[in-house]
């Protein structure tokens, strides 16, 4: 019997598989397809203090082995979430974390304080890395000084699990990872989407209304894997790896590179039950390799 559970500091996941924010709605969208209790956790859609209409259509462009998106954090705001969505999802038998985004430090702090009051939400994922919103998000994720301030102030008010989602759109991700750790983040999730662009050659126009957007899917996996490895070596807090994970082998690779848990993102769109398939696949892998617990995989990359 393999122990699939993993600990992200005090937060226990029944298995290392979570679903990534922005790819899993509020979990409800997947209830026809799968049993949410089969995975370690879900991170619900990016939530902001005020409602956001999101960017204009078109917001999506398919790329080789991936896609660009420019949704722009469309959501109805944290108060709507608390009143209308939370009551519907609070009894899901898995960890439900809320992804929180904002344009100012105050936005993040206020949203975190409101979500802290929700008993069944054991943590938040602070999104300082959305590349699709002009006035915010990524600005905090690419500057160590700005990141330091937002993590420090949210940490001062938020007492549950504080996961920080890092941007790959930086020169050295370990600088930001260490800053977040110093300011009290409990775990780091990475990577968010890579800033990219797509052009329609015939029309000679950009494919996205915002011109640039966030790249995700299997095409980003090697970059993500490298950043998880670098981050794992640079910090002591748990790392949650994501970026193009589409099957069990991908998930194992991220864990070997240092991830304590993983998030499945864009692959949910193509195969809505893939997160369950991966959770089962990890168990099978551990059995085949004689491991007693999935957590033994973390950082077990062999370099000899």
């Amino acid at each position: 019997m393999v122990d699939l559970s993993v600990q992200l500091k005090a937060l226990r996941l029944k298995n290392p598989v979570m679903t990534a924010s922005g790819t899993f709605g509020y979990g409800e969208e997947y209830l026809d397809f799968m049993d949410l209790s089969r995975i370690g956790g879900i991170i619900v859609k990016g939530t902001t203090i005020r409602p956001r209409e999101g960017n204009d259509y078109p917001r999506m462009a398919e790329t080789a082995s991936g896609m660009l998106n420019a949704v722009g954090l469309q959501n109805k705001g944290v108060n709507y979430f608390v009143k209308n969505i939370y009551p519907r999802i609070c009894d899901f038998d898995t960890n439900v974390l809320v992804n929180v985004s904002g344009s100012t430090v105050e936005d993040y702090v206020q949203a975190a304080e409101i979500i802290q009051e929700l008993d069944k939400i054991p943590g938040i994922e602070l999104n300082v890395s959305c590349p699709n919103v002009k006035e915010g998000g990524m600005a905090f994720g690419v500057s160590a000084k700005a990141l330091c301030q937002v993590v420090k102030e949210v940490r001062a008010v938020y007492r549950k699990h504080l996961m920080l989602k890092l941007s790959p759109n930086v020169t050295d991700i370990t600088v930001l990872a260490k800053t977040a750790e110093e300011q009290g983040a409990d775990s780091l999730s990475l990577i968010n989407t890579l800033l990219g662009m797509a052009i329609d050659a015939e029309k000679q126009r950009p494919k996205l209304s915002t011109i640039t957007g966030g790249l995700s899917g299997p095409c980003v996996k090697p970059v993500a894997l490298r950043m998880v490895w670098q981050t794992y070596k640079a910090v002591k807090i748990p790392v949650v790896g994501m970026g193009g994970i589409s099957n069990t082998a991908d998930a194992i690779e991220f864990m070997l590179a240092g991830a304590s848990a993983i998030q499945v993102g864009t692959a949910n769109f193509i195969d809505p039950v893939v997160s369950v398939t991966i959770a089962e696949g990890i168990e099978d892998y551990c059995q085949r390799h004689g491991l007693k617990s999935a957590s033994e995989l973390t950082g077990a990359l062999r370099l000899d």
Binding site: G25, G54, M60, N268, I270
Partner: protein
């Protein structure tokens, strides 16, 4: 109106195919029981072995034979993914998510509704969902008018099938079949009192139909084909601006009454 059936991920086998230069009619069968599917709903088809086609392809349901678990799709070869699909050999396995989206609003049966003339307007591959819709209307006692438009005769597909369920009117831009011109210019629209329009096709065509419908004060539903990633409301990519703000065309559409749209 809504999809009551749970969404499923099902494997189908391609058992029959009819191919044209730019499109293919593909008939699939499953060994499972097909969920209830309504006209206007769509499926998300997985394209195997095509790295440039990462996402599934949303295709509207052309026809259903639930008793035999058969489902038809009309595929226009527009990119690598749809070309790959159209090229599949018989007996190929194809994975689909279904049923997705809302559906066209069906009227009460004819003897109760007082509705006389229903026109189903399709442009190019947009005729695909109208066959299934026409059959459903016929079952409700109507004799639907199909107004089919294309660039040329080769774009007008499934004529025999349409004729089984109603009257067919055609326009082509080059005049190779039916009246020359655009669907909105067809003489039938002046000859009958149109009570209801259902429309699917390229956006400029649907917008022209919508403005015609508004001018003659006619009830009108259109089916949008916005680009989408998931097809079931998770990615928020396929939004259309409506009088309720941005809504997903995959869950609140693809069918909209023109009064909901900001056209």
């Amino acid at each position: 109106m809504s999809s009551i059936a749970n969404k499923l991920v099902l494997d189908f086998i391609l058992y029959e195919k009819e191919e044209w230069p730019n499109s293919a009619l593909m008939k699939f069968k499953t060994t499972e029981i097909l969920p209830e599917i309504f006209p206007g709903q769509f499926v998300q088809v997985k394209v195997e072995d095509s790295p440039e086609t990462y996402l599934r392809r949303p295709l509207s349901v052309n026809f259903i034979d639930r008793g035999n678990s058969c489902l038809w799709l009309l595929v226009q070869k527009v990119g690598p993914g749809t070309r790959k699909l159209a090229a599949l050999a018989l007996d190929s396995k194809v994975n689909m998510i279904l049923p997705l989206g809302n559906s066209f609003s069906l009227p009460e049966p004819k003897k109760e509704s007082g509705i006389q003339n229903i026109v189903l307007i399709g442009g190019g591959i947009g005729t695909a969902p109208l066959l299934f819709l026409g059959k459903s209307l016929r079952e409700l006692g109507y004799l639907p008018n199909f107004l089919l438009g294309g660039r040329s005769a080769a774009d007008i597909l499934q004529l025999e099938e349409f004729r089984l369920y109603g009257k067919v009117f055609i326009t082509t831009q080059d005049g190779t079949l039916g009246e020359q011109g655009l669907v909105t210019e067809h003489s039938i629209l002046n000859e009958i009192q149109v009570d209801r329009i259902y429309c699917c096709g390229p956006k400029p065509m649907m917008q022209a139909v919508a403005s015609l419908a508004k001018k003659i004060n006619c009830w009108c539903e259109v089916s949008l084909e916005n680009l989408m990633a998931c097809g079931f409301g998770a990615c928020l990519c396929c939004v259309e601006k409506t009088n309720k703000g941005h809504v997903c065309t995959c869950t609140e559409g693809p069918v909209f009454n023109i009064n909901e749209l900001l056209w």
